[in-house]
């Protein structure tokens, strides 16, 4: 398998509404073969004469290397603005330039180390999208997989049926109680972890959820691998906009690019409470003078 991202002139194959979201399938030759769970793709938006200058980044939901039309990549998106609205409402065969796979994928447990590893996967909203490919990869290694899926309401849950097909158990929570148990994923997580004997947690969703999941997992001495959703301009590591404070092996905090050093981070390394700031003591943090310049 080749490494590294490709830039390919892709094409929209289908666009389907799923609850509050849109499920897009894109023909993107070559990308599917390289993609691992946790990777993301960056899609050009707006067509050739667009006034939108930036790509939109999405976790990969599924890939198919043997599609009739060549390799396909599937993503799930929520309409947030002009760019996502354009992507959600194009007809089939619309050309869409695709860059991917990008980022560092989820780290999988080592194979053949005694008893099967128990993995608990936690998704918030459509943040669950990358977890289903991960679940398949974990299952193929003999891991136990349990899911906790949460959202604001039932329309914003994504992939409950996928999860039921793959997992030993599926716990569902919604803020308004319209599906599953009323509450947050972190309300259900301790019980799920206790029942499953969780060794590793994988999570993807909003920052606040990742922070809370990391804390709940830590209570049981488990590290959560968290895929962050930071806003990005380039997705390939050149623009320096998607940074967050992360503690390195040397114990020092650095402003780290979530696109190339993430999007998956060990939750205990991310300074969640300081996301959006440059914490005091960060390598190269500004003193009182000499801040400025673009």
């Amino acid at each position: 398998m080749s490494e590294g991202p490709l830039q390919v002139p892709g094409q929209l194959l289908s666009s389907r509404r799923v609850g509050a979201y849109h499920h897009l399938t894109l023909v993107a030759p070559g990308i599917a073969e390289r993609t691992k769970p946790g990777h993301f793709v960056a899609l050009a938006t707006g067509g050739p004469d667009t006034g939108m200058s930036l790509r939109r980044a999405f976790s990969v939901y599924k890939v198919n290397t043997r599609g009739v039309y060549g390799g396909t990549v599937e993503v799930v998106l929520a309409v947030h603005g002009q760019g996502t609205a354009w992507l959600a409402h194009q007809p089939p065969h619309t050309p869409v330039d695709v860059v991917g796979p990008l980022g560092r994928p989820f780290a999988l447990p080592r194979e053949g180390t005694g008893r099967p590893v128990s993995a608990t996967l936690v998704g918030g909203g459509y943040g669950s999208a990358p977890l289903f490919g991960l679940a398949e990869a974990l299952r193929s290694r003999g891991c136990r997989v349990d899911f906790v899926l949460g959202a604001g309401d039932s329309a914003r849950l994504f992939g409950v049926l996928d999860a039921k097909r793959m997992a030993s158990t599926v716990a569902v929570t919604t803020d308004d109680g319209s599906a599953g148990t009323r509450g947050r994923v972190t309300d259900a997580l301790p019980q799920v972890m206790a029942a499953a004997g969780t060794d590793v947690v994988y999570a993807c969703g909003p920052m606040a959820m990742l922070r809370a999941v990391t804390a709940v997992a830590a209570v049981r001495g488990v590290v959560a691998q968290c895929a962050v959703e930071e806003s990005m301009a380039c997705g390939i590591g050149v623009c320096m906009t998607c940074v967050l404070p992360v503690i390195g092996d040397d114990g020092l905090t650095r402003m780290v690019r979530s696109c190339v050093e993430g999007p998956v981070f060990p939750g205990d390394r991310v300074r969640w409470e300081d996301v959006g700031t440059v914490p005091v003591g960060t390598v190269g943090a500004p003193g009182t003078a000499a801040s400025g310049g673009h």
Binding site: T241, R254, V275, P286, G293, H294
Partner: protein
């Protein structure tokens, strides 16, 4: 000098033969397309999409003496045909740059134009000293759009005297064979005055334009979008400003080499800056949406020059200023 307009080549014609070599003072580049500082890091990431040695040169992200964490997030806001950024010059510092970044570019056979930034004249001078003799370095670009700590944070680029002091210091500490380019800000009353001061201080060429200072508000929070409040506007929205600045400076200082940048996303954009007086162009924000933009721009530009009957890039530089014979 006049250029005869020849027939437009049919689509699908073989690759046109135009002498694409570009000259910036004593520096001869194989072609006129470079990356813009801050949009290509130090080239490594783009090396996944094309051979960085195929570009005229890679202009690296501004390096400072020390490692720098940059500003808080959000650092970016998309705007109509452009974007605002407020990164705050995050970078590893000159030592790590010399240990890891510049050697990589050199190994690829790429030419490196190293952008330097500081908060005092002495810092710029020290950066030039540290870079002296570094393999792969073909030119310095002096990012003077930084606040001058010694002058209550007034940006060097907005004051002819401060700009000249920085450029002069860098020039004195740089090997004579390595051109020093001053990167000018368009946010000034008279860009020709600043350009002239930099040239008089020893600049071998001028890079223009840096971003324009801008700002965006979030209508939900009713607060600035950027954590840094203001940011630099770049992208296609700023191209007319770049064309104007290049036009004015080339008209006033026709023999001073210009590296043009500002909204170049296509060969047509590049040609416009060249016709206005740019000897070479940098592709910046376009890389964020199209990582292979620099090589695409080069191919498109070559075709456009051939279509217009230019035998060489040099013939097109500043062409828009020439009076055609009646």
């Amino acid at each position: 000098m006049s250029v005869t307009v020849r027939t437009v080549q049919p689509a699908g014609a073989p690759a046109p033969s135009v002498d694409m070599r570009a000259r910036l003072g004593d520096l001869l580049l194989p072609n006129p397309v470079l990356t813009a500082s801050g949009c290509a890091a130090a080239g490594r990431e783009l090396g996944q999409f094309f051979d960085v040695a195929d570009l005229g040169a890679v202009v690296t992200k501004s390096v400072m003496l020390e490692a720098r964490a940059g500003r808080a997030t959000p650092r970016m806001a998309e705007t109509a045909s452009g974007m605002l950024n407020s990164i705050g010059l995050q970078g590893p510092g000159i030592e790590a740059f010399l240990d890891h970044d510049l050697p990589w570019l050199h190994e690829q056979g790429a030419r490196a134009v190293v952008s330097v930034a500081g908060s005092s004249v002495e810092e710029y001078a020290e950066l030039a000293r540290r870079l002296r003799g570094a393999p792969g370095l073909v030119a310095l670009e002096v990012n003077i759009s930084c606040p001058n700590v010694a002058d209550r944070g007034l940006v060097f680029a907005r004051d002819a005297g401060a700009a000249a002091a920085v450029v002069g210091a860098v020039r004195r500490h740089t090997a004579p064979s390595v051109p020093v380019l001053a990167k000018l800000s368009p946010d000034v009353t008279d860009i020709v005055e600043i350009a002239r001061a930099c040239v008089d201080a020893g600049a071998d060429g001028l890079s223009m334009i840096n971003t324009l200072l801008g700002m965006a508000l979030d209508l939900d929070t009713m607060r600035p979008v950027l954590a840094g409040i203001t940011g630099g506007l770049s992208g296609r929205a700023v191209k007319p400003v770049a064309v104007r600045c290049i036009w004015q400076v080339h008209a006033a200082l026709p023999h001073v080499p210009i590296l043009g940048m500002g909204g170049v996303a296509s060969g047509r954009d590049a040609l416009e800056l060249i016709l206005a007086g740019a000897d070479a162009v940098s592709v910046g924000t376009a890389i964020f949406s199209d990582p292979s933009a620099p090589v695409r721009v080069l191919a498109e530009l070559t075709r456009l020059l051939a279509d217009r009957g230019f035998a060489s890039l040099a013939d097109a530089v500043g062409h828009a200023h020439r009076q055609e014979p009646q």
